[in-house]
């Protein structure tokens, strides 16, 4: 363990702000891209299911 205590870990020896903001923003962007990908899949499945139901109703 490179740090004595959790507080020390958070402070990162006066560089805490930079390290945690870097990781925070990176996590945000990665998660957003993942969520968008999954939401895209859901939306496509939904539209196709709706089209299918509409097609069956017409038949």
């Amino acid at each position: 363990m490179a740090f004595e205590s959790f507080a020390d870990f958070l402070a990162m020896g006066k560089h805490g702000f930079y390290v945690w903001s870097a990781y925070g923003i990176s996590a945000f962007l990665v998660i957003t891209s993942m969520v968008l990908a999954l939401r895209g899949q859901g939306r496509v499945r939904q539209t196709l299911a709706r089209q299918q139901r509409r097609a069956e109703v017409d038949k």
Binding site: V19, S26, L29, T32, S33, A37, R45, L48, Q51
Partner: protein, 252 residues
Amino acid sequence: MVWQTIKRWYHMLGSPRYFHTFSSRVLPWLTPIALITLVTGLVWGLVFAPSDYQQGNSYRIIFIHVPASSGALMGYMALGVSGLVAVVWRMKMAEVMLKAIAPFGAALAAISLITGSLWGKPTWGTYWQWDARMTSMLILLFMYVGVIALQNVIREPRQAARAAGLLAIVGVINVVIVKYSVEWVQTLHQGSTLKLFGESTINPAMKYPLLISMLGMWLLYAVNVLVRARTEVEWRERRSKWVQTLIRKGDQ
């Protein structure tokens, strides 16, 4: 014999249907592995790696910066290759890949820029310094934006993909040339280029977490691409019977 297997793989992966089943089988186990690898690499680097005698702890940003930069670069190379296959051999899957690879690559390029400048502040005193690496990454981000913008403007999906493919091919050549021309500008002004990530990574205690987090990020990139590609395949093949049955069955 090798040539047969390559050809067989080329045709198998070329068929959207096979790719769909392939990705549906791979995703359930690849996603956890990617996440675990990435998290172990980051935790190892953040918590257990020793602090750097010069930069203290701010260097720990490297464990997200380098994976992101390498991912963005690899992503654009993959775009170039998919572009070549899409434009020259007109392969449908390559067109799907062009749509699937770009977004996460652009995100990684943005991450690389942000983490790079956040690392620059404590180390060099400024958030932005126009050094060779950061400028190349900025231009790479612009080129990602170009590919994504072109794809979204053109209505016809196949034409949009092939246009973006051609741009990606030209783009890949440009990435290499930009790298040298930016370094040339550097040598003109500041003598030798500043090695922002040079010697501090030699120390093995830092090298292993870095390699693991890089692997983790690439696997995560693969997961993102597979999800997006699978969605794109479902949309493009929506008229085919196998997608109709899949929707009717309500696949997970």
